[in-house]
Amino acid sequence: MELEKRGVVAPLLVTSTFLPLVEAQAKARRVTPRVVVVPHPVGGLNEAELAERIEAAAGALLPLADEARGSA
């Protein structure tokens, strides 16, 4: 969030469980976060499960990143 305040595009990779907290913290910092949400948890996953998370996160991140670059 500090990076966004400094003008850096900084998408946050967050699990669904942590999303409410991250949104509340962002509001407290007066920042509108760019959030990529993946199912909770990430820790403890095996290789196949992690690959699913990567796929889901990339699917959300790429259009978000394209949009940020396109509007810059």
Partner: protein
């Protein structure tokens, strides 16, 4: 002084956020300090048992999100400066990383420091087998043996969380267990947890990485081979932070009456208070009481009638944002990843980063991390990232 507040709350966990909300709802100008982010220690605990009621389970992030949002809605200003000293007195002053601040009243709600055994070589093994966050580091010990040291409900919860991934969990209780009967039943039912009472860790084993501990019991000393050690003893209260208030032997602030210290303008809430129960409901109750006590302490000075306040108080001037803008000058080829070092966070980031690298045909992608999720990011790292990169993908909550 750079600013003045009616109430300054040091620590934005359950107790601090509640105290801040209560004081702000009474119309006072309130700042809540937390050098990382609001949330406190519970950020590190995945699930809260018996919250909101017996037998119920609440994700800690959900509860904290609600508390932060409620404080924010009440008008609390969140500050991420580090409070390095509180000078108690009729007009309390706080030394912070952003300068000195005055306040009409102070609520100390810092919680406790991380657990430590006080053994030689311990600090060198922190992050190399020693951790105080099962939710953060537990998966690193999947299928391996770990030990947990402590006697309270927090210890029990961490042991239960570790038992979901570790092959075996030994809980070393220096005296007798102080956790609830409900947690004792869950520990007993786990099947992977052994509780040793009257057990003291006397030495650490391992060269560079923890490989075991020496445990003294009434039956003598024995070696216990473990890859992970989670100490929840030796936690200190904020006594060294606050001048002029009495503390107990563990540095927790003593109170004369509930949340009131001997100094009429300084209050204490949550685990920072000597004798406070180790539970979420009691931290909330403490916070509410401390917030109300701070309001009551300031009311005679503020008057009981209508009060005119500056609605822009604490809001950064529009122009000030430009002063900290340093990103934006880099090219779109300059992209990095920033990991919080939680298990699999770096792997997830790298996987997503590879997809972006291919999508944008980036020649390379940068990487930075902070040592653990419980620590604030180093300012130098943030400075470097903001000056060097156009985009940084950040792992913050997992």
């Amino acid at each position: 002084m750079s600013s003045d507040w009616d109430v300054a709350v040091v620590g934005a966990g359950v107790a601090g956020l509640t105290a801040a909300r209560v004081a702000a709802q009474a119309g006072l100008r309130v700042v809540a300090y937390d050098r990382m982010a609001p949330g406190g220690q519970l950020v590190n605990l995945t699930a809260l048992h018996d919250v909101p009621g017996p037998g119920e389970v609440t994700p800690s992030a959900e509860l904290l999100g609600r508390l932060v949002a409620a404080a924010e809605a009440a008008g609390v200003t969140m500050s991420f400066a580090e409070v390095t000293r509180v000078h108690a007195g009729a007009s309390p002053r706080l030394e912070t990383s952003e300068g000195e601040v005055g306040a009409g009243a102070v609520v100390v709600a810092t919680g406790l420091s991380a657990g430590r055994l006080g053994l030689p070589g311990e600090e060198l093994l922190v992050g190399r087998g020693i951790s105080t966050c099962a939710g953060c580091d537990g998966p690193l010990f999947r299928g391996r043996a770990v030990a947990v040291v402590g006697d309270d409900d927090w210890t029990a919860e961490e042991a239960l969380e570790l038992a979901e991934v570790a092959a075996a969990v030994t809980v070393l209780v220096p005296g007798r267990p102080g956790w609830s009967a409900e947690r004792a039943a869950r520990l007993a039912a786990s099947g992977r947890i052994e509780v040793l009472t009257g057990a003291t860790v006397t030495a650490l084993r391992g060269e560079g990485v923890l490989s075991g501990v020496v445990v003294a019991t009434s039956g003598g000393e024995r070696e216990l081979a473990v890859d992970g050690l989670f100490p929840y003893v030796g936690r200190r209260g904020p006594g060294a932070l606050v001048d002029g208030v009495a503390t107990d032997e563990s540095g927790r602030v003593r109170t004369d009456d509930g949340v009131r210290t001997a100094v009429p303008t300084v209050f204490v809430a949550g685990d920072a208070r000597s004798g406070a129960p180790d539970s979420v409901p009691s931290a909330e109750a403490d916070g509410a009481a401390a917030g109300a006590a701070a309001v009551a302490a300031l009311r005679p000075a503020a008057g009981r009638g209508l009060r005119i306040v500056d609605p822009t108080f604490g809001v950064q001037p529009a122009g000030s944002a430009a002063e900290i803008l340093s990103g934006g000058t880099a090219e779109w080829t300059e992209v990095a990843l920033f990991s919080n070092s939680k298990p699999n966070a770096t792997e997830l980031l790298r996987g997503v980063g590879e997809r972006l690298q291919a999508h944008w045909e980036l020649p390379e992608i940068g990487f930075a991390s902070k040592p653990n999720a419980s620590a604030a990011a180093d300012k130098d790292v943030i400075d470097w990232l903001s000056q060097r990169y156009k985009m940084v993908l950040v792992a913050v909550g997992d």
